[in-house]
């Protein structure tokens, strides 16, 4: 047994963990068929860790859902597979390519894969009858997220209506749904980027190695350093060179930029994050740059 505590105080990280675990258990108890949306990024890996802790020594009582864009980093897929096999959870993969092949979504070369994730995800939720989908969104990430509830209601079309959100009081969550609707659940709403890194360090959590400093062949596009890959052909005037970089987020390989960094341990990353001058999405995510309301618009349609 650990030592008796006399001050009865919990650090803020322990309080955040307790709140998140409470949310995971509440959803598992009240929803018929929850699923955890897994992107392979650090936030969704922290979610897996929290779910593991919430139900230990039982297995996580729900499946994991990943939308395969066909443009994911191979390192991220490897990490995903190791987590899935260690936890013994069921993995459901919804592939954009399959959705196009089966005529579920149009094969529109002009629509970005990022946009195509939305119908693919909504189709997978509907097809599998998932009633609640956990997401790793944090309120510190972005303006629209700052106003989103922990239990975020989606109508039959998977849409979010920011003006019709249910009031959310105390830790009393309302999971009522009608046929065909589902709930998005954000257990780490109150975590900041720094909290996530702190937790990864404290819990010694395995994350994809592209988060750590490495040598990579990159080119500059729209002010971001992009990875050289056959999936993302060079445009005129773009030059590839080798740099020492790391990624701050793990998204679509054609839209996610990296930053120059020599941070090769969690502690070094934490130091870097603590003094960072740009938000992680603003710095390295092409998908959030299209307009000031890019995230708000995608969320209304049913984005993660």
């Amino acid at each position: 047994m650990t030592q008796t505590r006399t001050d009865y105080r919990l650090s803020q990280l322990d309080q955040l963990e307790a709140e998140s675990i409470h949310i995971f258990r509440e959803v598992a108890a009240e929803f018929e068929k929850p699923v955890l949306m897994f992107s392979g990024g650090k936030d969704s890996i922290v979610m897996l860790r929290l779910a593991e802790k919430a139900f230990f020594p039982a297995k996580i009582p729900f499946s994991i859902l990943q939308v395969d864009t066909g443009l994911d980093f191979p390192e991220v897929m490897e990490t995903r597979d190791r987590w899935v096999s260690r936890l013994g959870v069921n993995l459901v993969v919804a592939s954009i390519d399959d959705a196009i092949k089966n005529g579920i979504i149009p094969d529109a070369a002009k629509i970005s894969r990022n946009r195509l994730q939305i119908p693919t995800l909504l189709n997978a939720i509907e097809e599998n009858g998932f009633t609640a989908a956990f997401g790793g969104g944090r309120r510190d990430e972005e303006k629209a997220r700052a106003k989103e509830r922990v239990y975020s209601h989606r109508d039959e079309f998977g849409q979010w209506d920011p003006k019709m959100q249910r009031p959310e009081l105390w830790s009393l969550y309302n999971g009522r749904l009608h046929e065909g609707e589902h709930m998005r659940i954000f257990p780490i709403s109150n975590w900041t980027e720094l909290d996530v890194w702190d937790y990864i360090g404290r819990e010694n959590i395995e994350i994809p190695n592209i988060y750590f400093s490495h040598q990579r062949r990159v080119f500059t596009r729209d002010g971001m350093l992009m990875s050289e890959t056959p999936l993302n052909p060079l445009r005129e005037g773009e030059v590839v060179e080798e740099r020492t970089v790391r990624f701050r987020t793990c998204g679509d390989i054609t839209l996610t930029g990296c930053v120059e960094s020599t941070a090769s341990t969690i502690d070094e990353i934490i130091d870097e994050v603590a003094v960072a001058r740009k938000t992680e999405r603003g710095a390295t995510r092409g998908d959030d740059r299209f307009s000031e309301a890019a995230m708000e618009d995608r969320k209304k349609e049913g984005y993660f």
Binding site: M1, T2, R5, D7, Y8, L10, S11, L13, D14, Q15, L16, A18, E19, I21, H22, R25, E26, A28, A29, A54, F55, F56, P57, A58, K59, R139, D140, A144, K147, P162, Q165, R166, P167, E168, L169, W170, S171, L172, N174, R176, L177, H178, S189, N190, T192, L194, D195, D198, D267, I270, D271, A274, V275, R277, K278, T279, G282, A283, E292, A293
Partner: protein, 426 residues
């Protein structure tokens, strides 16, 4: 920044959740923008975006209020329509702000933001003095039992930093507060725009000897606000691994709502009334010696008693009384009014049931504290004292004793929407 110090501080940091109330005109968004900016929670790209917008709109200065405007419709209308959560940290504390709009029609948002707050921050415009709205905000914070209240007298720069203005507001407010439950009050003269007494002590108000706003937020003592005496453990989920390794494992998972639980404690399971002893408490893969709020743990009992979600584990000689008759203050949050004989779903801790509105005792005027006993209904954003009868016994404490076991929500069974927030009297 040294690696060790960074890691150590962030791990040891404690947490303060506070709710802000005030209208756009009181300078609330500017104040929050200032707190975020001065604590370096604002990033370069966010500040650049706001500077560019301010410039394109032809403002003379960078409008910090733009930092906290969330949704497109809000930016278009220049208003805040919903509770927004913001985050910043100083070396010893992390802060979660529930930023609530101050308009008349949004009482429900303020109740929402205040429900989880340790501290309420009410802004008044020094030129206007106390308004109906600032009184209403104080009343709501008091009803929600937010233990610490700060009245920030803003725009002191526009009244020449005059002590008389501050003294008058101070006098009027403390007099009003005697009618409320305000255990801890601080009245701070500030200028959010120029930064006086926000983070740095103002040189313009030598007559003020109290703390700056940031100093107060950093040091206000919140650890003793929890009830560490009366053990309350609402069972949330029963963990049964059904694996060979943990064949006989049966643990009751939940978040401690009050008191301290220890192995060996004699406990009662409600509503059945069966007694047993705590044999073990798990926190993930560790046995722990004590569990206290707000820890999420798994409790094991010595005896094989029947325990399921919605039950409550408490001490044998200190347990809540199961009751189907609820007397509560209710904040009504939807357009269709609350009416006698109405049936609703109720959620209290991890227990759900149905509730019938027996009668409405009175409607509370949150501006004057007058009790209107003639009222036949409660309209949207109104607060009143209501008697309910529930289908299942609830295991309640007075809200004044425990904000977790003393609160509930009401849900419309047809629409599924949360329509009411209740605080149990007693």
């Amino acid at each position: 920044m040294g690696t060790d110090t960074t890691r150590d501080t962030t791990h040891r940091m404690d947490l303060l959740r506070f709710a802000t109330a005030g209208s756009v005109d009181d300078g609330k968004s500017t104040l929050i923008g200032r707190l975020l900016l001065d604590s370096k929670a604002i990033f370069e790209d966010q500040l650049e975006a706001v500077e560019a917008t301010s410039q394109s709109k032809g403002y003379d200065y960078t409008d910090l209020a733009l930092l906290t405007d969330g949704l497109r419709s809000e930016r278009e209308q220049g208003i805040t329509i919903d509770v927004a959560y913001r985050y910043f940290a100083t070396p010893n504390r992390k802060f979660i702000i529930a930023d609530t709009p101050g308009h008349v029609q949004y009482t429900r948002n303020m109740v929402t933001g205040a429900s989880t707050a340790d501290l309420g921050l009410v802004l008044v415009d020094a030129r206007q003095g106390l308004t109906e709205q600032s009184r209403r905000h104080a009343v709501i914070l008091s009803l929600l039992r937010v233990p610490h209240l700060v009245l920030a007298v803003n725009k002191m720069d526009l009244v020449d930093y005059d002590q008389k203005v501050y003294d008058e507001i101070y006098r009027e407010f403390t007099q009003f507060a005697t009618k409320l439950n305000v255990p801890d009050l601080e009245v701070i003269p500030i200028s959010a725009l120029s930064g006086d007494n926000v983070v740095n002590r103002s040189e313009n108000m030598p007559w003020y000897s109290g703390p700056t706003l940031m100093h107060h937020l950093e040091h206000v003592h919140v650890a003793s606000d929890r009830d560490l005496i009366d053990a309350r453990f609402p069972v949330q989920y029963v963990i049964r691994p059904k694996s060979d390794e943990y064949h006989d494992y049966r643990g009751y998972a939940g978040q401690v709502a009050g008191g301290v639980l220890k192995p060996g404690d004699e406990v009662v399971v409600l509503p059945s009334g069966m007694t047993s002893k705590i044999s073990k408490i798990d926190l993930f893969d560790q046995d722990i010696a004590e569990a206290f709020p707000p820890m999420s743990v798994t409790v094991h009992l010595e005896d094989d008693v029947d325990v399921s979600r919605g039950d409550m584990i408490a001490r044998v000689r200190n347990a809540p009384t199961p009751t189907q008759d609820i007397d509560a203050m209710i904040c009504w949050m939807t357009t269709a009014p609350l009416l006698p004989r109405q049936k609703l779903a109720i959620k209290h801790t991890t227990r759900t049931g149905r509730a019938l509105v027996k009668y409405i005792q009175y409607r509370l005027d949150v501006n004057t504290l007058h009790r209107d006993q003639e009222t036949k209904e409660l309209g949207v954003n109104e607060i009143g004292r209501v008697t309910l009868r529930t289908t299942v016994p609830l295991l309640v404490d007075p809200y004044s004793k425990n904000r977790t076991t003393g609160s509930f929500i009401l849900i419309d069974e047809a629409t599924g929407i949360t329509v009411g927030a209740g605080m149990i009297n007693g």
